[in-house]
């Protein structure tokens, strides 16, 4: 470490020591939450009134105008290699230990999915990851063993029940948080599976044995399992495929990657108790509430005007962002973001207009 880096740490420690007091923070947060709720209620009412009385801003006016246009763009055939909605997981769970309900499905990356389930009695979160590239195997500070069963080699990583942060598991997740088990194997050529069971309660047992993990593994079946019908796209560039889908109450996020990108394993940070993996996407399409932090920088009064009511396009820090108010719910905005130069702004707006929110979408205005 250089002198500069050492002194930088010292300067940051000084700054931390000068931080404001936390006294009164909780009360301030609750007060602010109440004020925000009131503000959103007022803003929403005013926006609806304004749209009805004076035609609203150019962004609001696109809502009605594009109902017809949106239908037309949805009729355009998707380019080869892509699909309107995220592809289903090719694998479903068969046997699960007592107490685990039917899993939900998430997309973790291109050709990668997670089947998630958790139980409160015998606290444990369980995730089955399916991917097309060999994942990395953890080696420490837990115990790594290899198990051979019916011609398949399984890698089992096991961290026993322990207090959070206790040695030798330290402070780095996932081991730090409590018991953790990970079984990794190649289920069939080109299809890798990682089964993770964990809880963050520290000294509470998982209630799962090595045999249970193997039984989950051997019980997996080749049965497609659909993702929530959260978002559908009528148009996309022909050279990208689905790479990610997040369906949250603060936004539905779809990510698209190069169709010819090499297969990659799921990030090790992706775990049932925390979804921290990242996917490098070429095109990101999301639907978020109009007050979302994701687009706050574009929603200032000085934002680019929208004279034609076709949505707006903004360029900043090397990326281009198209915003389009969802026709079916004007309090939601479609956001299409790419690295500048990857797509023409007009094409991005076409993609934005082709978006349809599905019945399973979790996003709600003002959430």
């Amino acid at each position: 470490m250089t002198d500069m880096e050492i002194q930088l740490r010292g300067a940051m420690d000084d700054l931390a020591d000068d931080a404001p007091s936390a006294a009164g923070l909780l009360d301030a947060v609750h007060r602010r939450g109440r004020a925000d709720r009131r503000r959103r209620l007022i803003v929403g009412t005013v926006a609806v009134l304004a749209a009805g009385v004076i035609g609203g801003t150019s962004v609001v006016t696109v809502a009605g105008r594009h109902d017809t246009e949106r239908v037309q763009t949805l009729q355009v055939a998707m380019p080869a290699g892509s699909s309107r909605s995220a592809p289903p997981s090719p694998v479903s769970t068969g046997w699960l230990p007592t107490g685990f309900p039917e899993p939900t499905v998430r997309m973790l990356g291109p050709n990668a999915w997670a089947l998630d389930t958790r139980r409160d009695e015998g606290l444990a979160a369980l995730q089955v990851q399916i991917m097309s590239a060999k994942p990395a195997v953890r080696t420490k500070p837990g115990r790594l063993t290899t198990i051979g069963l019916a011609g398949v080699e399984y890698s089992l990583y096991w961290v026993p029940t322990h207090a959070p942060g206790a040695p030798p598991y330290g402070t780095t997740p996932p081991e730090a948080e409590g018991p953790y088990a990970e079984l990794t194997f190649e289920r069939r050529p080109g299809q890798w599976v990682r089964i993770i069971v964990q809880n963050s309660a520290g000294d509470v047992d998982l209630g799962i044995t090595e045999d249970d993990l193997l039984r989950i593994a051997t019980g997996l079946v080749d049965e497609p399992r659909a993702l929530p019908d959260a978002i559908e796209l009528g148009l996309l560039p022909g050279n990208v495929v689905w790479g990610q889908l997040k369906n949250e109450d603060y936004g539905v996020y779809a990510g698209f990657v190069d169709a010819d990108a090499p297969a990659r394993p799921v990030d090790q940070n992706e775990q049932p108790n925390g979804h921290n993996g990242s996917v490098k996407t070429r095109v990101r399409v999301s639907v978020v509430p109009e007050d979302s932090l994701d687009i706050s920088e574009f929603m200032r009064p000085r934002s680019t005007p929208d004279p034609d009511g076709d949505g707006t396009v903004h360029q900043r820090d090397g990326s281009t962002t198209a915003l389009y108010r969802l026709a079916s719910n004007p309090k939601l905005l479609v956001v299409v973001r790419v690295k500048t130069g990857f797509m023409a702004p007009a094409e991005m707006l076409k993609v934005a207009r082709s978006v349809r929110l599905g019945p399973d979408a979790a996003v709600k205005p003002g959430s």
Binding site: M4, K280, S367
Partner: protein, 164 residues
Amino acid sequence: MTSDGESFDSYVAAEGAALLRFAHVLTGDHHLAEDLVQEALVKAHRRWSRIDRPGAYVKKAVLRQYLSWRRRRSSGERPTDAALDGTAVQRDVADQVTDRHTLRALLATLPRQQRAVLVLRFFEDLDDATIADLVGCSTTTVRAHASKGLSRLRRSAQTVVAEG
């Protein structure tokens, strides 16, 4: 409550001070640090039942707000000249790059992305992959921000020393 049963209020009571420390290192500004932490906690409170790791979630929210809230930029960053008007740099600097006070002022002049990466690396002790996830960029970009940030600090420090 989160899946681990922790209530929002007990989380704020336990972690509020640490969040404010992080936000203050990030912004260098009392009011902005309080503002960012409060806003992040309000957002977290609304979806508390669905958050598995409140620590990571709130920290990411603070960071993302700091990086994206352009209107707050003026209160969070200080021009170099205004911040370096004292006598802190008037000392023997033959071996020492600069002192903490000066460095603290210089830190405030960095672009937000560079500052955020340096704070996450040197204050939070996070690795590049984790920083990349938090900031929302690649590890290559993280390394570039860190390198540029440190270079800029070195250059600024040398300028300060030369003018001192």
